[in-house]
Symmetry: C2
Subunit: 331 residues, 2 copies
């Protein structure tokens, strides 16, 4: 419960309701950059699988500014996320607004973004231990998606999903304790590796992407291609040998079969540098089966950021808070 | 001109017309795996920028099979591509069909895919020198997208774009001759590198993706992360130093600004392993400005596959026709 006993689920639902009072929404665009962009994957994946009436798509901020989709108008809801007001994300909010879209800002610090958007929802940074999992950006985006579908078309599992958000933080805390020693071993083994592949599919793909570009590349300066498990067999698998470092996310839900197929191949042709983190290990099955698929990202991402990335930071003696370019040079 | 003097543009337009006679289309899904999946990027990029009425999205085949989008029904056109009938792509065609979608197969060899789909269009492999550029999969998909928008909503530049397809093969042949010596130098320098980043944005992103996963990873077994130029500044740029190999595609059109921003940073903080291939070098400005943005992929991809990949194959003494897993082991 947050301020005045209102849960984040209720706050989000009320804001979505307010948008729908004044807008006949047929499209939703999720716009952000980097980790915030990847954080929208769960919401977009949900929309694609559960909405028949609302067209949902993600855009990296600068592409949205430079070449916005033709359909954006007053029937579009633009959900735009930036922790501190990333320049091109603020610009994207202005673009959405100028095109007539309803706009919701997701933010940690107030900025131009919150000034421009019609509505705003504060979120808590995934990187802080004290943040609650149901209040990080990807959770709030997923709640927006679920509220939108529920209010416009009906989503039979809406109450179940909202109840799952009530318990997901506790599930996460248990998973942190479970994963820490495993992450330590993995990180010790990875120290010195120059490239770490990250694989995932469907509802977990966004977590794989963020782990690659934000955690491994940005924070630790190690090369990290992200591979969709389905795409693996149509190109990337040819690089595999027994030395190749691969981190595989095994999702729960319908796309698990794709992850299992990748796992079987990695087990046969990969070696001891293949690491598997299974959604079954980190508590996804503690959530009801009818909604757990949509929570893959919600549990994988904080575990990867706060357990595996930190362990690798320690093992490589690279302080994950240091940057050489970000916030330091012009770009 | 093909059989009986009918151009591929006319053939595609007629097939789209036939689909629209029997289906009220509101959605289009582009479904394939690997290079064929990446090959749909140009069509989807066009649809997003030019269609107000038709919702367009791409799916890798196996995700489409395992967790198809909720909206797919008789109002969806599914365009499904596989050179020889990739197993999960045939399965995806069956899924689309079962959900009631209109289906068009793009194919080189007849297979289950062509047996399942309502309509079929033969394409020519991008990898063969004798193939005509306007008849490869990405060109035909783009023609489908343009015909669809033109016939349903009107596309003012339709005739201009179709005329551009008439000359694009000649533009490509000139670009091959131009790029060969440059590719030779680049490849000599890259020989021995273990990781090559490929960067691109907007209309060229699909070409960057295919160059990474099909050309560099699959054919040459070199690690190759793909980075969107817009996303570069929100994570991946921290890996950059003067030693890092990067291949940057500079697109023509609205997203060029994003590529120029990346270039400025690469020039300042990267070193002599940064290589730039500019759409301006390979003839994109020989096409009318009103449509050239949509032809980035159409020219970049065959140049990358047939000039740069082959040069790197030669420089690394890795025969690009050899595979260790594909078509050889169970997966």
């Amino acid at each position: 419960m947050g301020v005045m006993g209102v849960s984040i689920q209720q706050e989000v639902s009320a804001i979505v309701g307010r948008v729908l009072e004044s807008h006949d929404i047929t499209h939703v665009v999720w716009v952000a950059a980097g980790g915030s962009f990847g954080g929208f994957h769960a919401a977009n994946y949900f929309m694609e699988r559960e909405s028949k009436a609302i067209f949902s798509s993600t855009f990296t901020s600068n592409e949205f500014v430079l070449a916005p989709p033709a359909y954006v108008d007053e029937h579009t809801l633009a959900v735009i996320c930036s922790m501190r007001g990333t320049k091109e994300t603020c610009e994207a909010a202005r673009t959405a607004k100028e095109l007539g879209a309803a706009t919701i800002a997701l933010y940690v610090e107030q900025s131009d973004l919150t000034a421009v958007c019609d509505q705003k929802i504060a979120y808590e940074s995934i990187a802080l231990d004290e943040s609650r999992v149901e209040r990080v950006n990807s959770s709030i985006a997923l709640q927006i998606a679920m509220a939108l579908v529920n209010q416009l078309e009906g989503y039979a599992e809406y109450e179940t999903a909202m109840a799952a958000f009530d318990v997901v933080d506790a599930v996460y805390r248990k998973a942190v304790a479970y994963a820490r020693p495993l992450a330590h071993c993995w990180a010790e083994q990875m120290a010195g590796e120059k490239t770490i592949y990250v694989m995932g599919s469907g509802p977990a793909y966004g977590s794989a992407y963020i782990f690659s570009i934000c955690n491994i590349e940005e924070m630790l300066q190690i090369d990290s291609p992200t591979i969709n498990c389905c795409e693996f067999f149509h190109g990337p698998f040819e690089v595999l040998d027994k030395s190749k470092p691969v981190f595989l996310l095994m999702s729960v839900g319908r796309c698990r079969k794709a992850d299992e197929r990748a796992l079987a191949f990695l087990e046969r042709y990969g070696g001891c540098n293949v690491y598997v983190l299974d959604g079954k290990e980190i508590g996804l099955n503690d959530l009801p089966d009818s909604v757990s698929e949509y929570f893959n990202h919600i549990l994988f991402s904080p575990i990867l950021n706060n357990v595996y990335m930190r362990a690798l930071s320690k093992a490589t003696s690279k302080d994950y808070m240091t940057r050489r370019y970000m916030w330091k040079v012009e770009y």
